[in-house]
């Protein structure tokens, strides 16, 4: 119970920081102040909160769980590719978005799209697609919170209650503190996690009698493939490099880019981003793999047994039984199990708080959705003019309550593991939306109809993948179920982890077709006025 008490104290601290930010901003009920902290964040807060915004339950619990089942490949799949692609997109796109926000007062990406392509309702369609895709990301945070509190309290705090507490705390400080509170909390959380992540690695390493003996024992065991990338195909590995394109297309990241006081603040963020990823993901992945050696813990043994049965008998089982085993073998809680096994009680609490810090990153997504709703819908359709800016901010706050309650309700019913849920819907969808930004910022010839084609295609493709995976149950580990192979060419197949198109993850064709649609449809349709294009690119329209 002691670790749970420490975590509750941590949650109270986070709440205080959010409310402190609220007090500081009291009396200034301006939209730009509440939603963007008056575009005034300094370099330290900007780096750590932007990074913290991307560190969700997916990064911590999902990565160690994925590494527990699939081995070291997890780091190369998402972490190191993100370390290259995300800072690169912040450098190329984030800086430009910041400059446009400063020059023209944009507060959301849709405001920029509407202005850039001279459209109104098409902007609303893009808003709707973005909003629908963002909700799974919020759900991940609540599920991660429920899992963490449940494990750290020795199952005294049930999943539903843990999720409710996390949802409540996040909702409260976002409600009161807005962007300023969210950024401060994210900074605090990132620093906390970086410190405690290092402590966790040392404590668990010492507890296991040193990683050298554990790694060598694993190398000599039948599970040695976990130290390689054998369990993942090179096609799949390559596909994953498309996923980090989603980061810059996520509205909360784009909106966050607008909060920097000066463009110089992007410099440190771009340089240190890959190192921050290294510092957080490498220990998580390594510990996830090493957890396979902790066979004196019954929970770990149960997971390994479920994995073994799934691999050997999965093919002959009913889909429901397979799903049950898959859930049983999922390793989302292995880090917490290791902490419970090796860390003293008080330290397990502190480390649990560190994990909680990363898990609670859904705050930025909730705030971003609220910003988008109030700016792209409420203000755009006349609400701000009719009711004023104070009502606009209040509407944003009510929206925060509603969206959190909705996400919590869904989190209670969601059957997928944290990792799968995040990847399959939100990340692929946003990666598919990334051509919108590239076209808006770098191509004079892009049009609103090209943008509409990208948004509609993304929505259809995500829905198609979701429906397909609902209709066709996931096969047992091993060869995929081939669904369509004209002339012997495997076009579409259902894999144990999702869907494959020509052996690649769906995100690859989704992004490529998005880009193609933007080009083809834009070439066939009318361009915005020359004055509008000149506003973004200078000179005359070519």
């Amino acid at each position: 119970m002691i670790p749970a008490i420490v975590v509750f104290l941590y949650l109270a601290t986070v709440l205080y920081i959010g409310i402190f930010a609220f007090r500081r901003a009291r009396g200034r009920e301006e939209a730009e102040d509440y939603f963007l902290a008056s575009r005034s964040l300094g370099p330290f807060v900007f780096l750590f909160s932007l990074f913290g915004t991307n560190m969700t339950a997916f990064a911590i619990l999902g990565s160690s769980g994925h590494a527990f089942s699939n081995g070291i490949v997890t780091f190369g799949l998402m972490a190191s590719s993100s370390g290259l692609v995300i800072p690169l997109t912040i450098f190329l796109i984030g800086t430009r978005i910041w400059a446009l926000g400063k020059k023209y007062g944009f507060m959301t990406p849709v405001q920029m799209f509407r202005d850039r392509w001279e459209c109104s309702h098409i902007g609303t369609v893009i808003f709707a697609v973005q909003a629908v895709l963002l909700i799974p990301y919020i759900i991940i945070g609540i599920m991660g919170g429920g899992t963490t509190l449940n494990t750290i309290s020795g199952e005294l705090v049930p999943f539903w209650f843990g999720g409710a507490i996390v949802a409540m705390v996040v909702m409260s400080y976002v409600f009161f503190g807005g962007m300023r509170g969210t950024a401060w909390v994210n900074t605090f959380q990132t620093v906390l996690f970086l410190c405690f992540g290092a402590i966790a690695l040392i404590v668990i390493g010492v507890g296991m009698g040193g990683f050298r003996s554990a790694a060598q024992a694993l190398q000599a065991s039948p599970m040695s493939s976990l130290l390689t990338r054998e369990r993942i195909s090179p096609y799949y590995f390559f596909s994953y490099t498309f996923i980090p394109l989603s980061a810059i297309a996520f509205p909360h990241i784009l909106i966050f880019c607008l909060t920097a006081r000066k463009m110089n603040q992007f410099r440190k963020t771009v340089i240190f981003y890959p190192l921050c990823i290294l510092a957080i993901w490498l220990p998580c992945v390594f510990l996830g793999v090493m957890a396979n050696r902790v066979t004196d813990v019954p929970e770990i043994r149960q997971k390994q047994e479920a994995r073994r049965v799934l691999a050997t008998q999965g093919r002959t089982m009913e889909p429901e039984a397979r799903d049950h085993l898959r859930e049983e073998s999922a390793g989302d809680d292995v880090i917490m199990i290791l902490l419970k096994r090796y860390a003293p009680l008080w330290l397990a609490g502190l480390l649990g708080a560190g994990i909680m810090a990363a898990v609670m990153a859904s705050d930025s997504q909730i705030l971003a959705l609220s910003t988008m709703f109030t700016e792209d819908v409420f203000a755009f359709y006349g609400g701000k003019t009719r009711f004023g800016e104070t009502v606009q901010v209040q509407t944003g706050r009510i929206f925060i309550i509603l969206i959190t309650l909705f996400a919590y309700a869904v989190a209670l019913r969601a059957p997928e593991t944290i990792f799968e849920l995040a990847i399959q819907y939100a990340f692929s969808g946003y990666a598919s939306l990334s051509p919108l930004l590239v076209a808006a910022l770098f191509w004079r010839g892009s049009t609103k109809w090209g943008a509409l084609a990208v948004a509609v295609w993304t929505a259809l493709a995500v829905a198609a993948v979701a429906v397909l995976q609902e209709i066709v149950p996931a096969p047992a580990p091993g060869p995929a179920t081939i669904l369509w192979a004209p002339g012997g060419v495997e076009v579409l197949s259902r894999t144990p982890g999702g869907t494959a198109v020509f052996g690649f993850m769906p995100v690859v064709p989704m992004v490529l077709i998005s880009a193609l649609l933007m080009i083809v449809v834009s070439l066939m349709t009318k361009k915005p006025a020359a004055s509008t294009v000149a506003k973004y690119f200078g000179g005359q329209n070519r």
Binding site: S81, L84, A99, K102, M263, L275, I277, L282
Partner: protein, 78 residues
């Protein structure tokens, strides 16, 4: 020329990410880090170095100037 070299460096690093040469090796660097993980860790350090090069040699300073021109005296106002 500088920009071309930077683009080449980005593409090269992207290709180096697909390190198929260590795919099936379980060799342990320093006796405990699997080589595939060690390589990808070093890749992250290389990515940080590349970002430093980009920020140093290809910084879009024209954007800063445009903003200053559009919002003169903003810093003093804060």
């Amino acid at each position: 020329m500088k920009k071309i070299l930077l683009v080449v460096a980005v593409v090269a690093l992207y290709i180096l990410h697909q390190d198929i040469w260590f795919w099936r090796s379980s060799y342990l660097v320093f006796g405990f880090i699997p080589i595939g993980l060690f390589y990808q860790g070093m890749f992250s350090v290389a990515a940080a170095l590349l970002m430093w090069l980009l920020v140093t040699f290809a910084w879009p300073s024209h954007l800063e100037k445009e903003v200053e021109k559009a919002n003169p005296g903003e810093d003093e106002a804060r």
